[in-house]
């Protein structure tokens, strides 16, 4: 690895982040408006109109689910198209292409950090208390980051060849949103179907993050092992395919 690779990644990520929020704090506050409205509407529908029984701190449950989901959503979407966004760079400079994906994911990570700060504010305003298991959140966030990176590698490998992949992926994401307990509690999933729902590593990660952060229960080690094995099974072929395909990126953009 060249000595300046890490600096290049940081510069690319930070530049995109600044541009996205128009170089100002106010830009970030504006960008919060849409997610907060989605949160507000979902909260209104599922907490006031239809009530889910037996779910403590529903607003925190929902908000955390939405924040983690939107990281996955943003990281994979931007990661997929990042080669296209950086077309001139790729076609005029020879450097490792994974740098672009890491930088793109890092931009999304900055947003995740800001969003988690908003979650912390909501948390303090609620009746929930801080839990000793809270530190484990870093562990689950790491899983989320690796999973999003692995999926981004896959998508970016094929996006330049198949430009309609972005449409297909947005459909997958829409379906995925309702196949993961983000707005609804796990308890409404029929018992015999639950293991099927949790085959999805993202569902596992979101649920486990809530457990340690909001409810103070640490998920069994078994969960973590299963999640990690699944993530590795996505990551390794992702890396292999990306390196095979990336030699052609400069010609395809």
């Amino acid at each position: 690895m060249k000595k300046n690779t890490w600096f290049l990644i940081r510069e690319l990520a930070w530049t995109d982040f600044k541009l996205r929020y128009n170089n100002s704090i106010l830009g970030y506050i504006w960008s919060l408006l849409v997610p907060l409205m989605i949160f507000g509407v979902l909260y209104l529908v599922f907490s006031v109109f239809m009530r889910f029984e037996g779910i403590e701190h529903y607003q925190l449950y929902l908000l955390l689910g939405l924040i983690l989901w939107s990281y996955f959503y943003e990281a994979t979407n931007n990661g997929m198209q990042s080669m296209h966004y950086k077309a001139s760079l790729i076609s005029k400079m020879n450097f490792p292409k994974w740098v672009i994906i890491v930088a793109s994911n890092m931009t999304s990570l900055f947003t995740l950090c800001l969003n988690l700060f908003v979650f912390a504010v909501f948390f303090m305003l609620s009746s929930a208390t801080a839990k000793v298991t809270g530190w484990m959140v870093f562990f689950y966030l790491l899983q989320l980051i690796i999973l999003s990176f692995a999926v981004s590698l896959f998508l970016a490998s094929f996006y330049l060849r198949f430009r309609d992949l972005s449409h297909i992926w947005s459909i997958v994401l829409q379906v995925g949103f309702w196949l993961i307990p983000i707005v609804y509690p796990v308890s409404i999933i029929p018992d015999h179907l639950r293991p099927v729902f949790f085959l999805n590593p993202l569902a596992r990660i979101i649920q486990d993050t809530r457990s340690v952060l909001i409810y103070g229960s640490s998920p069994p080690l078994r969960h973590t092992i299963i999640s990690f094995v699944m993530i590795v099974f996505i990551l390794i072929p992702g890396i292999v395919i990306f390196f095979i395909r990336s030699g052609k990126f400069a010609e395809e953009v």
Partner: protein, 243 residues
């Protein structure tokens, strides 16, 4: 002398499909059908060697694959056939100010462009004053790049670019812009390259500057290497046979 860059029978073919198949939908709909496409030989069995410290020019009409050849040497494109050997660290300047962003300040762009060119943060910090002084943009360094004139943008990018210290440089017409003062600065830089014994490959339409700087020159025409040798002779051939 030991060659620093060597190309052995390098060819590049592009496939131009008659039907654009850039979507999964089209690929599925047309699966199994015979696809019509044209093959386009952009570079045909190019072989040459460049020695350490040589200043090499490339001339040829538009579309004679000059820039493509640079991209192949830089490793951005892979050759369809043949081998490309580059024995030292190489840096390609195919566009000045690559990756810079109009919405960011000159200051931010110095760091961004520096990172793209492979500089380290500590190096840029150390040389920041020098870069700004060379670009003569002290008063405007915190303005957004979009408020710069094109001349100012080039000066800024150029000031960063010359901080890079690679033994092999590929330069593609990036210096064709700028006023007389800027051209004089470029001349200084080129002189410096020669004194330091850098290996340079320089693409230009400006035959005067090719004649002034290049020890040897190659003439490309429709993907063939027509001539490679003594600069005045190659320029003469270009003028007589092609222009």
């Amino acid at each position: 002398m030991e060659p620093v860059i060597e190309l052995r029978k390098v060819s590049k073919k592009f496939i131009l499909p008659h039907l654009r198949e850039y979507t999964l939908k089209n690929s599925i709909l047309n699966f199994g059908k015979s696809r019509s496409y044209e093959k386009y030989d952009a570079l045909k069995e190019i072989s040459f060697a460049v020695n350490r410290g040589e200043f090499i020019g490339i001339i040829g009409k538009n579309g004679s694959a000059k820039s493509l050849l640079l991209k192949i040497i830089a490793g951005i494109y892979k050759p369809t056939k043949g081998e490309v050997l580059v024995k030292e660290k190489l840096l390609a300047f195919l566009e000045l100010g690559l990756g810079s962003s109009a919405e960011l300040s000159g200051r931010d762009n110095i760091y961004l462009y520096g990172a793209v060119l492979g500089l380290r943060k500590s190096e840029i910090k150390r040389k920041f004053g020098e870069i700004v002084a060379f670009s003569e943009l002290e008063k405007f360094i915190d303005q957004k790049l979009k408020n710069y004139s094109s001349g100012m943008q080039v000066r800024l990018a150029f000031a960063v670019a010359i901080q890079v210290d690679a033994p092999v440089l590929l330069i593609d017409e990036v210096l064709a812009v700028g006023d007389a003062g800027f051209q004089a600065k470029c001349a200084e830089i080129f002189k410096g390259f020669k004194e330091k014994g850098k290996t340079v490959i320089y693409v230009s339409h400006n035959l005067e500057s090719i004649e002034r700087w290049c020890d040897r020159t190659m003439l490309l025409h429709e993907g063939n290497l027509l001539a490679f040798g003594n600069t005045p002779e190659v320029i003469q051939e270009y003028v007589n046979r092609i222009l």
